[in-house]
Symmetry: C3
Subunit: 267 residues, 3 copies
């Protein structure tokens, strides 16, 4: 069984503590690949729920002090029961609260994967202030000139934080510090609807639930999300239907199509 079949067959319970902007899209994305979503954020229940879940996503998109606390409890419990934990540090760098929250999370929770755009990954590592909100800062745009340096930096971050780093952008870079995968699927229109990044994190957690080769699982999840965006782009009619078409594509895509369309390069 390949990873896509494994998710559909095992239907892992993917527990997300996530923002209220895109939470519905995240739940539907997780369902679309065959996993089962669960959302809960009260500190009194998060450990109990993490205990029987197959993986955990912590997404700080609309964090508040109550939920930061819950996230740490859930993350620690997830570590305890040895399930993969994915961090999506949405908008880190936008405020001291986010920087401090991420610092605390990194200290208390062992993350399997940290997925963010390149600006978020840098901000998380450098604990610096950014002003581009939840988007990539123009300074951070990937070019053929800076690709190599960016990869080196991400490898360094991966080793130092002892986690897989998945930096999404024009080219998605996924690294465990040693091996690095580049993914070329996806398109710019995906950044014009809210939630594609958050959905990716949900799919990464779904895949890591059923395959312990986390680098491979993460890469395939990100590639799949990009492929869904590319399929949706073919019949593009506007940003509203584009979002709907991405979920359609996620739920319809066949193993054969994935094999044909995956555009991954291993360094």
């Amino acid at each position: 069984m390949n990873i896509y079949q494994k998710v559909k067959s095992k239907k892992p319970l993917v527990y997300s503590i996530t923002n209220y902007v895109t939470v519905n899209d995240v739940a539907n994305a997780i369902l679309s690949v065959g996993a089962a979503p669960l959302m809960a954020d009260d500190e009194e229940e998060v450990a109990q729920i993490a205990s029987f879940s197959s993986s955990l996503v912590i997404n700080i998109g609309t964090l508040n002090k109550r939920v930061i606390k819950s996230s740490i409890i859930a993350g620690k419990q997830a570590n305890e029961v040895n399930i993969p934990v994915v961090l999506d540090p949405v908008g880190v760098g936008a405020s001291s609260l986010r920087n401090e929250a991420v610092k605390k999370l990194l200290k208390k929770v062992k993350f399997t994967v940290i997925k963010g755009n390149i600006t978020e990954i840098k901000a998380l590592y450098l604990q610096k202030q950014t002003t581009s909100g939840v988007d990539v800062s123009s300074d951070d745009k990937l070019t053929t000139d800076n690709l190599e340096d960016t990869i080196s930096l991400l490898k360094k971050i991966s080793i130092e934080l002892d986690t897989i780093i998945a930096a999404t952008g024009e080219i998605d870079i996924i690294t465990d510090g040693v091996k690095t995968n580049l993914c070329y699927n996806g398109n710019e229109k995906m950044s014009l609807i809210t939630g594609t990044g958050c959905m990716s994190a949900g799919i990464i957690a779904s895949f890591c639930s059923v395959d312990k080769n986390y680098l491979d699982a993460t890469t395939k999840a990100i590639s799949l999300m990009g492929q869904a965006g590319d399929i949706a782009l073919e019949k593009y009619r506007g940003l509203g239907s584009f979002r709907v078409d991405i979920i359609d594509a996620l739920s319809n895509i066949t193993d054969e199509e994935i094999k044909d369309n995956a555009n991954i390069k291993t360094l």
Copy 2:
């Protein structure tokens, strides 16, 4: 005037305290059948809002201690002003917090209808721990073998809790302890998008707002949701458009179609 026409004509105000995952779908479902949705959860305003509402839904999908408190206040006030109250005990059994919250709600609030999947209804009654998240546990799947026993159990629960029990699944079972309706509308794809259950609860509240035959109103609401799912399934193109098509179907369905498609059996 039949119940569908009554909702459209009276446009009852359906007040929901509900989870942030599917709240948008719930609001749009309520609007689609002709009622008016209102969401609010601060303890200082919930009683005031319940006072002029036509019905109340309490959905614990993403409960927290603050909102549990608000739900109890709103529920008590709804009882005070004698409007129907629907409980959707999402994920009860998944945590002690949920079990305790539901216990408290059942003690302090008189519910007109409790709607959940069969696992939730059992967990609510037995106050037990489950590990299937918000989905039906595989042990609880309805079969021709266990249908009769399940109905007996639900009737018992209905009598003991003095409320209509609506257990959704392959066959939806709606009972007031004496009379039982089985509804065969709906399809399995509906469990592959988030929110269909929550939308049902919103439609039940909409219908109970305008018809005091609550068993009948609840059954028709659940059947309508199932019919919308079946209409959407006919042109199925993927899980994203399926969700959109369900709302389309809810808003477009005619009395004539409902009469033809309703698949309800009264025991």
Copy 3:
């Protein structure tokens, strides 16, 4: 460059503190016109985020005491850094909490624009209790008979509160107390999906971010939202796809179409 091009070119960061019912639609509407949405509500980060944003929306749709506090802090900071602030007083009049929150907001924050339906604008000004939830009360329906009086009242409110008042309805009335614009775009179906009002507020903020003629920017934003609704209505297939089609229309509409379709009358 006209205002539509300016938004697309500058991609202003539009910061919203908004309700969890329609927040996803608001984010996608802001993206659809070319701006960048950001949502955050913890009191510890709201000032910092307001500092580098291009505009702020405060929408009280699902307010709670924690977020009221955050909204005031964010609003004051937005005033400090001199960015436009839009108030969407959703459901004001439905509870004392909402009335008090709005009173406090009006006292502490200078709003550039207050946008609401006519019932909300009246309730906000008169601090009175209403029972129509988030919808227009039947007493407040615009007619040819009461149009002139309504305009006079709105001008008075505008002058007294020293802000642009945008009252949406069958005819949208936008006034700075001296000059008044009437907008005839839009249709009744738009009130049958949740979020069109909240989306308008997001687009108003997007436009006010790039043009200091706030009366004009607000009018064009409201007209654009109405035009998108009218384009979507042409291919109406149900309330689910109608919502999707509105976002499609917002993202596809051309300057040429806007010029042809804008239906604005200046008094």
